[in-house]
Symmetry: C2
Subunit: 229 residues, 2 copies
């Protein structure tokens, strides 16, 4: 294919995706569902973060999960052990979730009104940045074992996210990772980015994430009620 | 005065203030000036933070300062030692800067086009929250010696701010202060708040603040050019 033709195909794919994303967003808005799209490199701890969050919040916040992976349904199984409903989407050769896949998964999941929906994307710091799934926010995880330079090397993802969670903070004493320098790099590509430092393993810093989550979920419910009323 | 009359007077004061704030904001916007309104309790380290920031950035970013205090011009003198221009505003009995005072101070300061303007408010976690000065953002400082509960006890200020800087991080090893719990409290009153942890004394964490500052100041310049062009 010519370069021009490739660009045209990419545009068509993204514009089709945006249409499905708008449908998802309208459905979430009408039902007070607060949807987050979790993106990161493989192994930065997305599933562990979700498992701990669900364990700590399930008594006060209904949470459903859409799990994206190229293969296996291991992650959805880990989520279900917490008692939360989870749907696994296998993308096969695909390197990201798209809004159409998420729409079907949500249909199947049938999340409760006024609930929280976690969408765990395929581990990939590049492609998922371009695909709107209809989420309220992209949340980018970065583990402190990955290096301070990642926001500069993968700027699209950090520019597309509204919240950056630095995970594996329990390892900081054993590493040369400079939290301040990493946040500085991230703010250089996205001056409006919010940042939190946590360990999904020990639970340190997680209360700040829970505050952020609950306050934003409450606003989604308020907006849905205002729209209906 | 009756309760009703007091409320009426307060409304008049705030609406007058908002008029002056709009004038300041228009002037800043037209001239690419990125104005920040620094608010905090007394002694949380606003002036030290500004002094270090100016020292570190003055070669690449023109910075002017409006200093607010009830009495003395000590702070403006400290700022001027860095080489940056500073105007002291004494509020006398006043517990906050208002937009009219700031407008006059800015006239006198005559900040350069495409520069940064730091407005250091009177040390007070209550009243300055209600007074828009025409700034791009309120930045609330909280020192880690003040306790994690301050965002819950003074919610208006933390709700009005866009950035919270936790200062005096060098003292953390000697304190029982829980950074995560403090950020959780702040996000409870303002889910969109950005947070940074720094020590203006040792400089730790300051690069993240500089990134935030430079990226936002660059956007203010871009917007002014787009408006003029």
């Amino acid at each position: 294919m010519s370069q021009e033709r490739i660009i045209q195909v990419e545009r068509d794919i993204l514009s089709k995706n945006d249409g499905f994303a708008a449908e998802n967003r309208a459905y979430f808005a009408a039902n007070g569902i607060f949807a987050l799209n979790f993106v990161s490199s493989p192994g930065s701890g997305k599933t562990s973060l979700l498992v701990r969050t669900i364990g700590d919040l399930k008594e006060r916040l209904p949470i459903g999960v859409v799990e994206g992976d190229q293969q296996t349904s291991n992650d959805a199984a880990r989520i279900r052990e917490t008692g939360a409903p989870a749907i696994q989407v296998n993308t096969g050769k695909g390197c990201h979730l798209d809004a159409h896949m998420v729409g079907h998964a949500v249909e199947e999941l049938a999340p409760a009104k006024n609930s929280v929906l976690f969408i765990e994307n395929v581990g990939n710091l590049v492609c998922p940045a371009a695909f709107d799934l209809g989420e309220a926010h992209k949340v980018v995880l970065l583990s402190v074992t990955e290096g301070e330079d990642k926001p500069l090397k993968y700027p699209d993802m950090f520019a597309a996210a509204d919240l950056m969670i630095l995970n594996k903070a329990d390892l900081l004493p054993h590493l040369d990772f400079d939290v301040g320098a990493c946040i500085a790099n991230a703010l250089r590509v996205n001056p409006r980015l919010q940042t939190l430092v946590v360990s999904a393993r020990t639970g340190e810093g997680m209360p700040a994430f829970y505050s952020w989550l609950e306050a934003n979920a409450a606003m989604a419910v308020t907006r849905a009620l205002a729209k209906a009323g």
